[in-house]
């Protein structure tokens, strides 16, 4: 292999990388972002994350947001993997507290009111049950 061929190969690879990157800018860098942002704004954060082919639970989170004060503590139990993993962010500034660690009749934790319903992780879905 001639030295000039080596250089040509290297420069071709770099040029191809740059061309692929440039070609992707309109669609992948701008287009996909704009589409995602539009959908996010249309359906809202909760439905964007928890009304998908793989994960559900948006109704339960919306119920908690509408029916519990912002400083409340929400008890939870069940499977933590799946939809529940996103709940702490979605219900912020409310706190999620492990139900098995508290007395059954408790009404406040850290001077925060405890929500009347318990959030249950069901893997790829969520449920709300009475305490």
């Amino acid at each position: 292999v001639q030295r000039s061929h080596v250089k040509t190969l290297l420069l071709l690879l770099v040029t191809a990388h740059l061309l692929v990157g440039l070609a992707r800018i309109p669609h992948a860098v701008f287009g996909k972002r704009a589409a995602e942002a539009a959908r996010y704004e249309q359906v809202g954060r909760v439905r964007y994350l928890l009304d998908t082919k793989y994960h559900q639970g948006w109704q339960e989170v919306e119920w908690l947001l509408q029916n519990t004060p912002a400083n409340s503590v929400i008890l939870w139990r069940g499977e933590y993997k799946g939809s529940f993993e996103l709940a702490a962010d979605l219900v912020f500034p409310r706190l999620l507290y492990e139900a098995s660690r508290v007395q059954p009749g408790i009404t406040t934790i850290y001077d925060r009111p405890v929500a009347t319903r318990v959030l249950v992780g069901l893997g790829n879905d969520l449920d709300l049950v009475s305490r």
Binding site: V1, R3, V6, K7, L9, L10, L11, L13, V14, A16, H17, L18, V20, G21, L22, R24, I25, A28, V29, F30, K32, R33, A34, E36, A37, Y40, E41, R45, Y48, L49, W76, Y80, E85, L86, A87, A88, D89, L90, F92, P93, L95, L96, Y97, E98, R101, V102, Y110
Partner: protein, 466 residues
Amino acid sequence: LALFGLVAHLLLGLGGSVSPLWLPTCMVAGVVASLLQQRAAVQPGPARLWVLGLAITVTLLVALAMVLDVTRIPPHDWDAVAAWSVKAKHLVANPSLSQPFFQDPGVWNHSRDYPLLQPLCLASSQALWGEGGGRLLFVVLYLLMVCTVGLAVRAAGAGRDAACVAAAALGLTPILVDPTSGGFTSGYADAFLATAVVGAAAGLLLRDRWLLAAGTILMVLLKPEGLIYGGLVLCVPWLRDQRRLLLPAVVAFVLAAGLWLPIQLELQHARVTSPGWVIWPGLVGCGAVMVLSQRLVKPSQRPAWLLVSMMVCGAVVFLLLVKLLATGLGQQQGSLTAYFQDLSRMFDRLPRFPQILWGAVSYLFSVRKVGLLFAVLMALAILHKRLGPWPSPALGLLLILAAPCLLMPYLLSTEENLAHHMRSSMGRLLIHWLGAGWLLAGLGIGQTLAQAEPQEHPHHQAGGEP
């Protein structure tokens, strides 16, 4: 950013709160310190105007897309929501660990053991500049990484054309700039960690102690695997007999790990049986052994077989040390613990090694993920004898040492669905090394261009370590 990390973790460790003003204060201090630092003059010749213009245009174009994104909507990829942004939200409201979210094991806190530097940076910038304005941090990190690669390639004498090409090539890498898991605007800490790796790699390339120390500190404070990467970075000056670099890197690693690990234990307090202070003697002892052993053994003067034996022994000791950190202090959960709890799992997984290796190779050469970086590096590795001397042994060694980091998680993982595990995480593991890869590729491109047009770059026939 590294200084902010140290200050913030010192304050958190002392039970205090981190005022958001520390972030701009530390950044100004960093800029002033870098201006005061004397650097060797580099005259690599002018860049072609169209190359410079192309590099600046594409970088700014991508940055503009990111600005439009982060100021419009918050990060919405899985780990960003589950593990990263929620911590930042709590730290905006109260920039200390003295709150139930961090202190009470009953309160749900995903990945309690994850380092806090990114949430701290995001919380501080959001407290100062608002929610959307604060998220511009991700765009600043993108520009920082791209510029560091370009400036480091130029400072290494590889030529301004090569510097522009390397910077633009990194700045166009699909997995970094797409709105996908691990990309700069995804809200994950992987791109920030990649920026830290670039800092450390540039420090090794330019023999710049401050850059190396800053990169090492950032790695440890950004992600659990950053602790392992920091250890790998220390191995490079150790193996290459670079005492001037080893000591500051060791000091940086010990400082960062010494500040972070006790906090990590505190965050996992309900599951930990040993107090955090036991970390310090261990870290200082390991650091001292590393520095002293280099002085006694002098790797460059030993035969290859002894060096290889030492590297194998070092790798075993390193694995055992990480296992000790991950499980020996009583943790029952945590990301490192999950991998290192049972090292024998590695042997059970060996029959699946070909599947893991094939998965890694297919990611390395996936144009839709990383472009053609590894094709360029492979061409450089195969053909370097025809191009001239290897442009940077230190960077080459760092990337070789990093290779097991792509494979080990899948040998040690508890996840049975290996294909799913690799699909969801291998791209992100690869992100960490993309900047370092383009640094090395940039030097190779510089060599090629210098040989192609010697009359235009009479002072620099080949880029490389100064």
